[in-house]
């Protein structure tokens, strides 16, 4: 059992909007087989533990219900490792311009 997340914490909730099998008729087969999911962040209304159904207040003041999935959720996107296929391009094109007297 994890510590309850405090009231007023910045959290994320998750909800199924359309279950698999109830997707719009025009979506392709692979998408039909998975639900339409929603994730929204806001401030937690009452203390709760991860996995519980909770209410949040979003930054526009809307009250939304869903499963508590994260608190103070991190922005995990970044760059990752340099890409070898890109890292020599600069040297190659500079060499071409060096021949034409444009770069040192």
């Amino acid at each position: 059992m994890t510590e309850p997340v405090a009231k007023g914490s910045w959290v994320e909730i998750h909800r199924i909007v359309l279950p698999a099998g109830e997707r719009a008729s025009q979506v392709p087969e692979d998408t039909q087989q998975v639900p339409l999911e929603m994730r929204v962040k806001g401030f937690l209304v009452e203390p709760a533990s991860l996995g519980e159904d909770v209410e949040i207040i979003t930054t526009t003041g809307r009250r939304l219900h869903g499963t508590l999935t994260d608190f103070n959720p991190a922005y995990g996107h970044g760059f990752g490792a340099p890409i070898a296929e890109l890292s020599t391009i600069g040297g190659e094109v500079r060499a071409m311009l060096r021949d034409r007297g444009r770069v040192k």
Binding site: A24, P28, D30, L36, E37, V40, G76, G90, M96
Partner: protein
Amino acid sequence: MTDSPGYQEIMAQRADIMKGSARIDYAQYATGKLAFDYERLLADTGYDLTTTREIQSRTAVGNTPLVELENITELARAVAKPGRGARIFVKDEAANPSGSFKDRRASLSVHAAARHGFTGVVAATSGNYGAAVASQAAKAGLRCIVVQEAFDSQGIAQPEIAEKTRACEGYGAEVIRLSVGPELFYVFLQVLKETGYFNASLYTPYSILGIETLGYELALQIQEQAGAFPDVVIATHAGGGNVTGTARGLHKAGATESTMIAASVDLSGLHMASDQDFNRKSFTTGHTGFSMPFTSWPDRADVPRNAARALRYMDRFVSVSQGEVFYITQVLAELEGLQRGPAGNTSLAAAFAIAQELDREQIVVVQETEYTGAGKHPIAQLNLAKNMGIEILRGDPEDNIPGRRIVIPEHPSQITVREVELDHVRRSYLRHAMELLPAGEGLDQIDLEFLATETRTSQTWVQEVIDELP
């Protein structure tokens, strides 16, 4: 497979929700069975070019630098035939407040929302436009909700969209992140209905009129810097707004002879509504997955009449490969000191090839850049691609297969454009248009005129194509 009752109920209210949320009664612009008065739809907003420029200047939107890419021009000349290699300029739209030309689109939408007394705005977008609307809403004191298609069924976020989530939340917006599927529109309608907020659609007249300043500015700037209007202007093309607004602005500045070229990243073979393909695209916009359907039928948008009607304005439509765009993005950084893109650099990749078709004294303008950063960068996209099992290699761009293999050119001479046959797109447009004609009814004269204008052809050609339809 059946649509759920809740889904059907909201979708049935679509027209009413739309009408109230954009304050435009689109029905009043109908002039025929298919025809509508496009110019009056735009003019009735009250935003002429002078007014738009004044509104945009108040939020530091526009007046972005036009930069000559002398080193990239020289590189193009190094691989071009003797005497060829036009001067390449780029309009550095990353200098806008939220980092892209989308601020121009958002500025009038948010202005209109405030003017009509709305307390908030909603936008359905996974791209730069969300950050632009959020930024403009913050300045105008309006609340903002952005609805994104953001992650696949494995919970893997597309990194560029993750960055857009962060940017929107940074401006105080509420971001609704959804998994893959066109039912995003259903959630969008629900939110519009619940909140009564303004629909800051990418496809309203506001959103298109806001871009006219881009074309107008670049025409004046190139006149001042090079003493002539551009021979060619290239726009990265997705939903059609960029091409439409830029071309209209060029015309208003008097640059009526400039060739308008639309450029998209080729994503053929990938399905835009497929959960499995979602994270195999490596591009979130500027690609054929949007541009082909939207050019051949603009009224598939989230408003009844799309104000972005690219087929009216493009002289030529080309595609480039994913690897070519990543290559030129790296070249832009290392030869010009500009880290931008990547999606906006689609038109730069095309410009690099097209400049080689032209003489050295001619001028090509790439009409936008966009900011770059965490997630929104070739390194982030290529790392995701590798994790998805997509092969990355240096080689001949002709071997690039979207979703399976990204081929980074080995040499700048390998960058080329592939022509999209415009007559094919026009025929597809007419096929869609005729599907809307009630059974047993014929076209009126005004409809024929409209379809000829829409396709930039003649009434004779339109009639011939229609007669050939099954």
